[in-house]
C-alpha cells in the first residue's frame, strides 16, 4: 500500500530532545509510527515521553541497540549535514531530513557522498513522508489523509497539506505522500518517486506538486512521457513570482530565464499530465 515507509519502518529521531524533535516524535507515535529510538549527543541513557523512547549518544549505538532502519532529522541547519553523514555511515538506508536552511555546498558534499552508497535521502527542507494508517516520518499532520490509492509527491509543505485535505474532503485516499523538499540540492527527485509509484501495485494515480526553480518538473515530464502508465495530475506554484527572487524556499527561484512555472506546466502538459489551475481543482481532475 505504499512506497518507502510502511509498518516495517523502524524509526530513529536525530535531535529528539529539541523542541521540534520532541513535539513531532509525540505526533509520530500518536499516528502509530514504530518509533524505536532517539539520538541526541550527550543525552544517551535518558528517556523521553515518559519512558517511551530511549535516547542514545550516536546513531551507531542506537542502530545496534534497536535495529532502527530509518532516520528522521530535526537537528539545526549548521549540524544537519553531519547528522546525515552519521546516519549514512551507520547504514541507515532511508534518511529523512526535515531541517531547513542547510548550506547548499554542504548538501552538494552530502549528495555526492550518498551517491557512492546505496542510501536514500528525502529532503532536506521537507515535511517528510506519510503512509496512512501505517507510518508517518516527519511533520505532515496525521489527520488530513485517509488510506487509498493516490500517490502524492511535492516540493512543498503546507501546500501539500492543502492538497491532502482537499483529497480527504472528496473522499479520496492516499497510498503514500512524499515531500521531497524545497531546496535546490536534495536527496530524492520527482523522478525517483514517480518510478516508485509506477511500480507500487497499490498506487493507481499520482499527484505531482511542483513549483518554480530548477528543472526537476521538466525532468519528471520527460520521465512520465516515456515510462509512466499511471495517470499523473499536476500543480505548479509560483506563476506570479517575480524573477530573481527566492520565494521562501531556497530552491524556488527563477534564474536566467530558467525555472519558470509556465515552462514546467507546458512540459508536463506535453507529457499528458493534467494541470490544475488551483489546488482545490485537483480532486476534480483525479475524478
Amino acid at each position: 500500500m505504499s512506497i518507502l515507509i510502511d509498518k516495517n519502518t523502524r524509526l530513529l529521531v536525530q535531535g529528539i530532545t529539541g523542541n521540534e524533535g520532541l513535539f513531532h516524535t509525540k505526533n509520530m507515535i500518536a499516528f502509530g509510527t514504530n518509533l524505536v529510538a532517539g539520538v541526541t549527543p550527550g543525552k544517551g541513557g535518558e528517556w523521553v515521553l515518559e519512558g517511551k523512547v530511549p535516547v542514545f549518544d550516536s546513531v551507531k549505538i542506537a542502530v545496534n541497540a534497536t535495529g532502527a532502519n530509518t532516520s528522521v532529522i530535526f537537528v539545526p541547519a549548521r549540524f544537519a549535514a553531519d547528522a546525515i553523514f552519521e546516519a549514512a555511515d551507520a547504514d541507515i538506508h532511508l534518511i529523512v531530513c526535515i531541517t531547513e536552511g542547510i548550506p547548499v555546498q554542504d548538501m552538494m558534499r552530502v549528495r555526492n557522498y550518498l551517491d557512492q552508497k546505496n542510501i536514500r535521502l528525502v529532503g532536506p527542507n521537507c515535511p517528510g513522508l506519510l503512509t496512512p494508517v501505517e507510518s508517518k516520518v516527519g511533520i505532515i499532520p496525521g489527520d488530513i489523509t485517509i488510506p487509498g490509492t493516490i500517490g502524492v509527491v511535492s516540493r512543498s509543505g503546507t501546500l501539500t497539506y492543502e492538497v491532502l485535505y482537499a483529497l480527504m474532503l472528496n473522499g479520496m485516499g492516499v497510498s503514500t505522500c512524499v515531500g521531497i523538499g524545497g531546496d535546490p540540492i536534495n536527496g530524492t527527485s520527482f523522478i525517483d518517486c514517480l518510478r516508485m509509484f509506477e511500480e507500487d501495485p497499490n498506487t493507481e494515480k499520482v499527484v505531482l506538486i511542483g513549483e518554480i526553480g530548477g528543472t526537476d518538473e521538466e525532468n519528471a515530464a520527460a520521465f512520465i512521457d516515456r515510462y509512466m502508465h499511471k495517470p499523473v495530475i499536476g500543480f505548479i506554484a509560483g506563476q506570479t513570482a517575480p524573477p530573481g527572487k527566492r520565494m521562501g524556499h531556497a530552491g524556488a527561484i527563477v534564474e536566467g530565464g530558467s525555472g519558470l512555472a509556465v515552462d514546467k506546466i507546458q512540459a508536463l502538459e506535453n507529457a499528458g499530465v493534467k494541470i490544475a489551475s488551483h489546488p482545490e481543482e485537483i480532486p476534480e481532475l483525479l475524478g
Binding site: 555546498q105 511533520i139 492543502e162 524556488a252 536566467g256 488551483h278 489546488p279
Partner: protein, 377 residues
C-alpha cells in the same frame, strides 16, 4: 547575499587572483586622491548591486585626477535601476586586448559546482548562454575533490586560450574555486578576465553571490551586506524571521509555508486580483511574528485588502488569531480582511476572531474571490 564588485575583487585577491590597482571611494575628492595615487588613466565604476551599470552611464574613464573627481561627482549623484550609488571604485585603467568570462556556480541538476568559461567575455553571460551556448565551456567540479589542475587546463583549451597563459589561468581558476568554496558562494565570477596589451591576465570585474544559509560560517562577509538593495519592509521582515517579498499589487497576503504563499498569490491573480506581496510566516509562528507580519503588510499604502490563509499544522490557528488581534489593537486600519483558517486549532482561532469583523472563507478559492471583491470595492 550579493557582494559589490570591489568587495568581490578584494576577496579574489586574497586567493592570488590578479586585480587592477585601485580603491573604493565614497566621495568625489577621495576618488580624486586615488586617481592621483594611481597616476594615469582610471576607471570610475558605480558600486551598485544591479546589472547594466555600464549602459546606465555608471562606468566612465578619466584621464586626469580632476576628471576623476568630476566624473565621480556625477556618478555618485546617480540612481541606477532605482538604487542610489553610494560608492565608486577607482581602478587603474587596463589596456584590454581580449575579454574572457570565467565563473563558478551551482548546477542544481548535476548537484555539483560547475565552472564556466567563454572567450566571449565582457557581456551578459546569460545572453551568451541563451543565444550561443556552444561558446560556453562547462566543467563540473567534484565537491569532494575540488577543481583539479587538469580541469583548469581543459577549460583553457576549450576557450582557445593561448598556451603562454595556461599557467596563470590555472592559478586564477584555482583561486576562484577557493574563493567560491571558502565563502560558500553560489556564484563567483570574473567578467571580464582580460588579457592586457602587455600580455597579462587581469580580473577587471568580479561578482560574488553568497549562500545566505551559510553566512553563519562567515561573519566577516555578512558584515559586507548592502541593505540598499532591499525594500525597507524586506529588511524589517528579515529581523522577525519572516520571508517577505514586496510586489506591485493591492491584495496583501499572509500565509504559512512558501509553496502555499505562492499558490495564494497565484489564485488571487487567477480570480482577477493582483497580490501586493509574498509572505511566509513560517512553521509554528508566534503571535509576535504574526503581528509584525501584519504591520509590514499594512505599511504598504497600496494594500486594499488582506487575505490570511493559514493551514494549521505546526502553526496553530489560535496562535495566529491572537497575533492578528494583538496587532489590530495597535494598528488602525480600514483595510478589509479575509481569513481562512484550516487545520490545527482552526476552530479556536475562528472563535477568537469572531468579534473582529473579518470576512471568513472555507476554501482557498472562496477566500481568493472574496479578497478580489473586497479590493475592488
Amino acid at each position: 547575499m550579493k557582494l559589490h564588485e570591489y568587495q568581490s575583487k578584494q576577496f579574489f585577491a586574497r586567493y592570488g587572483i590578479p586585480i587592477p590597482r585601485g580603491r573604493v571611494a565614497a566621495t568625489a575628492s577621495e576618488a580624486k586622491h586615488i586617481a592621483e595615487e594611481l597616476a594615469g588613466r582610471v576607471v570610475i565604476k558605480a558600486q551598485v548591486l544591479v546589472g547594466g551599470r555600464g549602459k546606465a552611464g555608471g562606468i566612465l574613464l578619466a584621464k586626469s585626477p580632476e576628471e576623476a573627481e568630476e566624473l565621480a561627482t556625477q556618478i555618485l549623484a546617480m540612481k541606477i535601476k532605482g538604487l542610489p550609488v553610494r560608492k565608486v571604485l577607482v581602478d587603474e585603467a587596463a589596456n584590454i586586448e581580449t575579454e574572457i568570462y570565467l565563473g563558478i556556480t551551482n548546477d542544481r541538476t548535476a548537484r555539483k559546482p560547475v565552472m564556466m568559461a567563454s572567450s566571449a567575455g565582457g557581456v551578459d553571460i546569460e545572453e551568451v548562454a541563451r543565444e550561443s551556448p556552444e561558446k560556453i565551456a562547462r566543467m563540473h567540479i567534484d565537491p569532494l575533490l575540488g577543481l583539479r589542475d587538469y580541469q583548469a587546463r581543459d577549460i583553457a583549451t576549450s576557450i582557445d586560450l593561448p598556451r603562454d597563459h595556461w599557467k596563470v589561468f590555472g592559478q586564477i581558476a584555482k583561486g576562484l574555486w577557493k574563493a567560491y568554496q571558502g565563502s560558500d558562494a553560489t556564484l563567483a565570477e570574473i567578467n571580464p578576465l582580460v588579457i592586457t596589451a602587455d600580455n597579462k591576465l587581469l580580473a577587471v570585474d568580479g561578482k560574488m553571490v553568497l549562500d545566505d544559509n551559510a553566512l553563519f560560517r562567515h561573519p566577516d562577509l555578512e558584515e559586507m551586506r548592502d541593505l540598499d538593495i532591499e525594500a525597507p519592509s524586506e529588511i524589517e521582515a528579515r529581523k522577525y524571521g519572516l520571508s517577505f517579498i514586496k510586489l506591485d499589487g493591492d491584495i496583501g497576503c499572509m500565509v504559512n509555508g512558501a509553496g502555499l504563499a505562492m499558490t495564494t498569490m497565484d489564485i488571487i491573480k487567477l480570480f482577477g486580483g493582483e497580490p501586493a506581496n509574498f509572505l511566509d510566516i513560517g512553521g509554528g509562528a508566534s503571535s509576535e511574528k504574526v503581528a509584525a507580519a501584519l504591520r509590514i503588510i499594512l505599511n504598504d499604502p497600496n494594500v486594499k485588502a488582506l487575505l490570511f490563509n493559514i493551514f494549521g499544522g505546526i502553526t496553530r490557528g489560535d496562535e495566529v488569531a491572537r497575533g492578528i488581534l494583538a496587532a489590530l489593537e495597535v494598528i488602525q486600519t480600514d483595510v478589509p480582511m479575509i481569513i481562512r483558517l484550516v487545520g490545527t486549532n482552526a476552530e479556536e482561532g475562528m472563535q477568537i476572531l469572531a468579534d473582529a469583523e473579518m470576512i471568513t472563507a472555507e476554501t482557498l478559492a472562496d477566500a481568493a474571490k472574496k479578497s478580489v471583491a473586497a479590493a475592488g470595492a
